[in-house]
Symmetry: C2
Subunit: 432 residues, 2 copies
């Protein structure tokens, strides 16, 4: 299968050629070339007119819990610990494998429809999640999130075994679209010896680690009270950073901690929408970027966001740090767009994703720019970041395959998924 | 003309009945009733099925400069004064009446398509703006924004005369859809004696006042340096607050200043997107609301936002102040929605706008909730605020007349407007 987009505008994330106008050729799952040459159209299986589109690499959402879409709008405007312990966890405990399947499906629909082509998921019933990724055509780095406090030694052991089995089963599956990690949920939900066991498994499997870290000031203080160290030093000591490691949030960081993250090449998933909504605070993103840390963007779950539209996270990343720092040049539009795409791929070790360049995976998004908020036709990176929204996404390809065509999904039954998720929600709420 | 929506979900902004499920009857320009009664459909000119919609009062955008859409994306990521003085003002000086007509038209298209039914505009060539409002069916409070520094006494006098003439010509026109104000641009662009003259005109015409105030820390300091007072005390002394007055921004306010704004019933247009993008800071919205000041929402122009989607301002109002204050209950979803609708109407003295209630103007918006990010069907106020976007708006009525039907405008030629604004932009950029 060899196809092309002609007369498109491509925002590439490639510094050698940030914006390219012309044609893009895709062969099977990879970009073959971006070229201004006149091409013999008969040589291609399909030729797509790109003249009313701007193309970008698909967004990479580096932190989330897809199945939690079932709890969207269920309990807003509460503090993180109350929200987690009183509202989320008791209801999540009722989630069956079937709930996870449909909740994840709804999230994947939403992600594709707003231009996300890769995502991280940390949850339970992960075989269901992987199944949805496989059939939807999505790309993902998946991990069984493990909470260990309050569990017997046997249950802790079972959780790690389950996470290992999941990784062994799914790593590299679906033409490489599925990769895995190991994920102790957080320092405040996992005892140190448990974390060390997970780190060992990450070594054995040769997969990265993922965890929540320093999301709230309270959690940082409790870590100090309980373990005599802030979370960064604590996790460093437990060996987390000796492995490739992605931490979510990283809101409350000192200069020294930022230096440690850089030293160990720890990657940070910045979740501005979720951090604001849960009043967790505002991460020190300009400082992290300046230190050379890979900072990417995540939505977190749609229970704390409340959607999975990466346009919003990109815009928040661009706006928020200007307003907080007083520096209007903090996180310019193109840098925010890179955080949402290229830096996202880097953050989850997808080395051939996140750029429109020959040899990279053909994960890309066509945005409909024939709309009033994209006029006048000036700087499209600016328009995407400061004026765009997920609903502007018209076409999506992942691994060279078109998964959305003019806003119609080609791999998923949206109507059935909406109905099934509603049924799941109704059942969860009706059981105590 | 008498029509109804049946089986709709209405988020009313009426505290007696915040969410109503049933039917709404409209007669001519006003809501006749919200009723659960079975109705004889033959009694109505039109019966609309509302079962896949959530209805809210149209958004009221209380600060902007619509024609500046021509400069969207032209000069981002710069400091306010540089952006204004080096980028905006020199290009705005080239704007002709024709440019203002098309730039405003583009903005009105964008506003209607994202659910705004009333807006404030402070600009030049205001007869053109009023003309667009009249023909589009929009509702607006309009004012000729006056910059007086560097102008001769004669030019200053001419500007005030022009603003007075505009007010006299348009106040109450278009079945009352057009109202006016008097607007000295800002304390830093208008000498005190000029402001006093504008205040006098506002008395004479019996219309409110509008100005930019305390947007940046620098501007506050310069006011102190030049006039020995911060902007609030300065404007109070000049008599601005003895008249009904709407101030835009109000980012840098002390407790004492908030108390003065409350005492004089000054209304504040909070522009979170613009304030973040220009790194002006973050307004003390929870404190203003707590003090009982009417706080509404404005986009500012799409040159500093960069769109006119009030969903984004509502969401920012709900998210930002949680994250900054550390209080996740700050500005709950419904309060943010009220800021965007009811409080907006109150802020511009549209006393029968902003609520879905018998007797109020039929300015309303139908949002398409049959989309993944509105599932599961739980709390629709939350879904609108935390998950919605302007593109979800399907239908819009203003003054009882449908101006958008399933995303197609009924009063404006969108294609022509896009082409004309592009032509205006190209001409402006090609002239020095």
């Amino acid at each position: 299968m060899r196809w092309m987009i002609k007369n498109g505008t491509f925002i590439t994330m490639n510094e050698e050629q940030p914006v390219f106008k012309g044609n893009m050729i895709v062969e099977n799952d990879r970009i073959e070339a971006l070229t201004a040459d006149e091409l013999d159209e008969s040589q291609f299986n399909e030729v797509i007119d790109g003249s009313n589109r701007v193309y970008i690499p698909g967004f990479v959402n580096t932190h989330g819990h897809a199945a939690m879409s079932l709890l969207r709008g269920y309990a807003d405007d509460l503090a993180l610990q109350v929200w987690l312990q009183d509202k989320m966890w008791p209801n999540e405990a009722k989630f069956t494998a079937n709930d996870v399947k449909w909740g994840t499906s709804l999230s994947v629909v939403e992600m594709i429809k707003s231009g996300t082509t890769s995502f991280v998921d940390m949850y339970d019933h992960m075989d269901e999640v992987a199944g949805v990724v496989e059939t939807s055509g999505m790309r993902a780095r998946l991990t069984r999130g493990m909470i260990a406090i309050g569990c017997s030694e046997q249950v802790q052991k079972d959780k790690i075994e389950e996470a290992i089995a999941f990784s062994k089963t799914w790593e590299g599956k679906a033409n490489g679209r599925i990769a895995t990690m190991m994920a102790p949920h957080a320092p405040y939900t996992c005892p140190p010896d448990f974390i060390e066991k997970v780190v060992q498994a990450s070594h054995d499997l040769n997969v990265p680690l993922h965890t929540h870290m320093s999301e709230t000031a309270r959690e940082v203080q409790e870590n100090v009270d309980q373990y005599g160290a802030r979370p960064v030093a604590h996790l460093q000591k437990l060996g987390m950073f000796d492995r490739p490691c992605l931490v979510a949030h990283g809101v409350h960081l000192t200069d020294e901690e930022i230096a440690i993250l850089k030293e160990y090449d720890v990657r940070v998933s910045h979740n501005p929408g979720s951090n604001l909504k849960l009043a967790s605070g505002i991460a020190r993103v300009p400082e992290l970027l300046k230190a050379g840390v890979w900072v990417s963007l995540g939505t977190d779950s749609s229970a704390s966001n409340n959607n999975l539209d990466m346009f919003e996270e990109v815009r928040l990343a661009a706006l928020l740090h200007k307003g907080v720092s007083g520096d209007p040049t903090a996180v310019p539009a193109m840098e925010a767009l890179k955080m949402g795409t290229l830096y996202g791929a880097k953050s989850i070790w997808f080395e051939d994703v996140g750029m429109l360049k020959a040899g990279y995976k053909a994960d890309l998004v066509g945005v409909d720019i024939d709309q009033p908020h994209y006029y006048p036709k000036t700087d499209f990176a600016s328009h995407l970041v400061y004026s765009g929204a997920g609903q502007d996404v018209a076409d999506v390809w992942i691994d060279g395959k078109q998964v959305m065509k003019n806003r119609t999904l080609t791999t998923m039954d949206e109507e059935k998924i909406k109905a099934e998720t509603q049924a799941c929600y109704d059942r969860i709420m009706s059981t105590s």
